[in-house]
């Protein structure tokens, strides 16, 4: 629980910590991407502008690729660069480099591309409503009992929609490739979450033209939130190709506008839910969920997002009879990708809204209805995985108690009677399975390495990156706290694929949960093997043994067995749980919701570093609340946004008071924290708005224009 300071705190304050654009190499030139402005069409001609010396430019396209023109992903269907046909706005057509960054930008802006336009689907609803747009494999969790609903069970049927969300990392996507022809090595400096994905990305596009790609991250990675999981593979591929062709180091840093327009976003979703509830017992007896995601033009990693979506679709309720289907839909928009939460925020958006509707229809207190149906020991997930703890229920009880929910319900009801503006309070719950889904961690087969030097300094080699979330501080802390070694003698090394074993990507709330716990066990194992009490003493009296390297692999618990064909079994060994109560103030004149207070109780097991954990929670909670409240990226008829003046990221001024409490912290296991803060808070905003006004809105975000429409529609009725 020790709140040791982040290793990067001071160098970030004084500006010495190097981000991607701070690196420079001799003779380095600058690259940019030329991308499609057509949603679907064949490229007829590309006109370069007059007045430029074309020999100064390095240009690469699909025709120049020595390896394969397919980005390695869970589904390999996306080319690095379009060949003849473009399938979405923002699809890369060429990489272009020049020594002068400004001139390059001007040159690219003046390039004209002629297309023969083809039919395109760009509207989210048009994409998700039409079942002809389905692509890829349908996922089904079938936990039906075959029992017919009793005639007195109450049927609820609703459709919920969620929008895109932009990761809005501070540092845009960037890459530097340095071709070393003598060694035939492509060295790449990356701002990314997954150095080994980038390595595979570069080796795929370069094929036999290179012997090996070596990826090292920049010292600082200015945020990622999932946005730097797969796009860096594509960017690194094209940057490498430019370096290979020009023979010079090439740096590409995306302009913010390009980054917003062409990189991956959170998948918009349409989730249809039908339930049958027994009015006597107030228990949901049967559920049907149709979970749909707009994948964009290619599947890429969307099937994995879909998997997590259906596995979290039921929220935290024990429902004896469940059928969940998940499908991907194709549109002519950039592929959507990873974003903190990975399919789960969409799932909770729908189900946490749905239970609120049922409770309202049946005139039951939303908390009491949840308590009746919430997961308890002895229940099981629709995959038949048994529920082994009551921690979700504990989170709910605690947040209700500390927020004074029941009393405030009454207070607000009274206050609202005499005021034009309204106050509201809403609940939501959520959870997140730690690590890769199903058998994923077995397949990843993560390995970590430690080198103990002659002065007893411990160098930790992991592929997991610190993108501002404090991973390198916390990972080191888990190692040195286990053996009581001084913190300044225990440092995580900058990930470099030629020195670091593959401990897997920095995704899926797995960094502390899988790699951190592995490092803790590893420290104890080394201590046991060498038989020391104090590492410093041991090293100084056994100098000839050092420096010495140790390696250890992650071994998955044998209880984790998941049938990926039928979606039966243990999908995740450990779950983090959470519950939230949010208070809002609704401004009647402007139809705006103001967040006033958010109470959050989270079980992530053992808390390694209290301050970092609270910081992660607060950031995620604000990101989650804003997902429900104000962030949208696309408006039908008006297209996609270009920058942050329109895209309504909240500012610190919009931040409500956020209360975070961790419970069950005496657990020996540190569970996943990365994503859960983003998963659960958004529905509480919507539910609080319902509490304030009696109106349900089934589509995020609850922007005032949408509220205005639904209020006036209500008046017309």
């Amino acid at each position: 629980m020790k709140s040791i300071r982040k290793i990067d705190a001071i160098p970030k304050l004084n500006g010495s910590w190097k981000f991607l654009d701070d690196y420079s190499y001799e003779e380095m030139i600058h690259g940019q991407l030329l991308y499609s402005t057509c949603h679907h069409g064949t490229i007829k001609k590309i006109h370069f502008p007059d007045g430029y010396n074309l020999s100064e430019f390095t240009v690469v396209s699909a025709a120049n690729i020595p390896g394969e023109n397919i980005v390695p992903e869970p589904v390999c269907d996306q080319p690095y660069m379009a060949d003849k046909e473009v399938f979405h706005f923002g699809q890369v057509i060429m990489g272009i480099a020049h020594p002068n960054r400004k001139l390059l930008r001007e040159f690219i802006r003046k390039i004209k591309i002629e297309y023969e336009e083809l039919p395109a689907i760009i509207d989210i609803k048009e994409c998700l409503e039409n079942e002809d747009n389905v692509f890829g494999k349908e996922l089904i969790i079938d936990h039906r009992t075959g029992r017919k609903p009793d005639p007195n069970w109450i049927h609820h049927h609703k459709i919920y929609y969620t929008p895109h969300q932009e990761q809005a990392y501070l540092e845009p996507q960037g890459m530097i490739a340095v071709w070393q022809p003598k060694e035939k090595i492509m060295f790449v400096r990356a701002t990314c979450q997954c150095p080994f994905f980038v390595k595979e990305g570069v080796e795929t596009i370069m094929g036999s033209a290179i012997k090996e790609a070596v990826i090292e991250t920049s010292e600082g990675i200015g945020g990622a939130f999932g946005g730097k999981e797969d796009f860096p593979s594509l960017l690194a591929g094209i940057t490498s190709l430019l370096s290979y062709k020009s023979g010079k180091p090439v740096k590409i840093v995306l302009e913010r506008e390009d980054d917003i327009q062409i990189t991956t976003k959170r998948h918009p979703a349409r989730i249809e839910i039908e339930t049958w509830t027994d009015p006597e017992t107030r228990k949901i007896m049967k559920i049907y969920i149709d979970y749909r995601l707009d994948a964009g033009a290619y599947q890429t990693l969307s099937p994995v997002v879909l998997a997590r979506g259906v596995l979290h679709a039921i929220s935290g309720y024990s429902i004896p009879d469940a059928y969940i289907r998940g499908r991907l839909f194709r549109s002519n928009t950039p592929s959507n990708g990873a974003f903190r939460g990975f399919g789960a925020p969409q799932a909770f958006a729908a189900m946490e809204a749905h239970v609120e509707s049922i409770a309202a229809d049946m005139n039951i207190n939303p908390y009491k209805f949840r308590r009746k149906n919430i997961f308890r020991i002895g229940n099981e997930f629709p995959t038949t995985q048994p529920i082994l703890e009551n921690n979700l229920s504990d989170c709910l009880e605690r947040v209700i108690e500390k927020s004074n929910y029941l009393q405030k319900l009454e207070e607000f009801k009274e206050w609202n009677k005499t005021h034009k503006d309204k106050k509201g309070i809403g609940i939501s719950i959520g959870y997140h399975g730690g690590g890769y889904t199903g058998n994923g961690e077995k397949v990843l087969n993560s390995e970590v390495k430690v080198v103990i030097e002659k002065d007893a300094t411990v160098k930790i080699y992991v592929a997991n990156t610190d993108m501002g979330q404090g991973a390198h501080t916390t990972l080191a802390q888990m190692f040195f706290e286990a053996i009581d070694h001084p913190r300044e003698k225990c440092l995580v090394q900058l990930p470099n694929t030629s020195k670091t074993p593959n401990s897997g990507p920095t995704v899926a709330s797995r960094t502390i949960y899988i790699i951190g716990n592995l490092l803790r066990r590893f420290a104890l194992k080394i201590k046991d093997e060498l038989g020391f009490e104090n590492l410093d003493d041991y090293v100084s009296s056994n100098q000839n043994e050092f420096p010495r390297e140790f390696r250890m692999k992650f071994v998955q618990d044998p209880s984790v067995v998941f049938d990926e064909e039928n979606y039966v079994g243990v999908a995740y060994k450990d779950y983090s749980w959470a519950a939230c109560v949010t208070e809002i103030y609704f401004h009647a004149d402007t139809y705006q919701i103001e967040l006033t207070k958010s109470w959050n109780v989270i079980d992530i097991g053992k808390v390694v570093n209290q301050k970092i954990a609270v910081g992660q929670a607060e950031g995620g909670i604000l990101q989650g609340l804003a997902y429900g409240l104000c962030e949208f990226f696309y408006k039908a008829g008006y297209g996609r946004m270009h920058g942050f003046s329109d895209y309504a990221l909240p500012t610190t001024m919009d931040l409500p008071e956020i209360d975070v409490e961790f419970i069950h912290t005496d657990s020996p296991i540190a569970k996943g924290l990365g994503e859960i803060p983003m998963d659960f808070p958004a529905p509480s905003v919507r539910n609080a708005f319902h509490n304030a006004t009696g109106i349900f809105i089934d589509e995020y975000p609850l922007v005032p224009e949408r509220i205005f429409k639904s209020l006036t529609a209500d008046e017309r009725r």
């Binding site: 004149d589 008006y638 003046s645 610190t652 001024m653």
Partner: protein
């Protein structure tokens, strides 16, 4: 692009004798720099003016407060003179962009840039502000209300610039004041609807009403028809359907990526109602 930094006013005027419709004056740069980066402004003549002391500062001149055109928003927010004389104006400017931009953005720039969403303009309109417009040979004073001619256009010739903004010292005296800027977040936002209002009441009748709106027309403007209708009426004599009808004549809200015209219109109606009721 040509960049000029004159040493003094004389040097400034020397550089702007000729008319040139590609001439831009650079002070805080919060609008112009973005337009240069986006390629909206190109092959232009940029004259830097932020350092010219004749264009800076806040003074009391007889019955007026005179604010130099390149005075930035932070300076106005920190000004004692403004605090004592125009506290409503000062308070309302806190919602201008963000604290960071306030240190750079200038009052004259916000006016001259001519955006329909300009934060300072509705406020200055209800305060009956005037502009001092100068060229090498001429100084003229015009009402801000007569300054704009259309979307991002105004009555200035390209050899003229705004030297100062003149606000009557007692512009707020005796009035109930109202200002609401509505946007998608609390800071760093471009307004969807802005309403500024002044009123005073005598024997339960509105003796004076001044109303100005932003983001609802090609440029911010006063709502004279509504003001006229409301004057000399008491609250119960006001037919709000008539106010809505007049508002419909005075504003032309649009639907865009940011917001919807119906929303903008109804929020404006609500704000006027609240302003009158409070």
């Amino acid at each position: 692009m040509k960049f000029i930094r004159p040493n003094d006013m004389e040097g400034l005027f020397q550089n702007m004798e000729e008319n040139n419709d590609r001439r831009y004056f650079l002070a805080g740069g919060t609008d112009i720099n973005v337009q240069i980066k986006n390629g909206v402004i190109k092959n232009a003549e940029i004259i830097y003016i932020k350092h010219l002391k004749e264009l800076n500062g806040i003074q009391i001149v007889k019955d007026d407060i005179v604010i130099g055109a390149v005075t930035n928003i932070t300076e106005i927010l920190n000004s004692k003179i403004i605090k004592e004389n125009l506290p409503f104006f000062q308070r309302s400017l806190e919602s201008f962009a963000s604290p960071l931009l306030q240190t750079s953005a200038t009052i004259g720039g916000n006016i001259a840039n001519g955006s329909p969403t300009a934060d300072v303009v509705p406020l200055l309109l209800v305060l009956d502000a005037k502009l001092e417009i100068v060229s090498k040979t001429q100084t003229r004073i015009i009402e801000l209300n007569n300054f704009f001619t259309g979307y991002k256009t105004n009555i200035m010739k390209t050899n003229e610039l705004i030297r100062s903004i003149i606000i009557p010292r007692k512009a707020e005296n005796g009035f109930d004041t109202y200002f609401e800027k509505v946007g998608s977040r609390k800071s760093l936002m471009i307004s969807k609807v802005t309403l500024a209002g002044l009123k005073n009441i005598s024997h339960s009748k509105f003796t004076t009403v001044k109303l100005a709106v932003g983001s609802l027309n090609e440029y911010p403007r006063r709502l004279y028809k509504i003001e006229e209708y409301l004057t000399d009426k008491s609250l119960i004599e006001i037919n709000f359907l008539k106010v809505e009808e007049l508002l419909n004549e005075e504003i032309t809200p649009i639907t865009d990526l940011r917001s919807d015209k119906e929303y903008r219109y109804h929020v404006c109606v609500n704000l006027i109602r609240t302003f009158l009721n409070e």
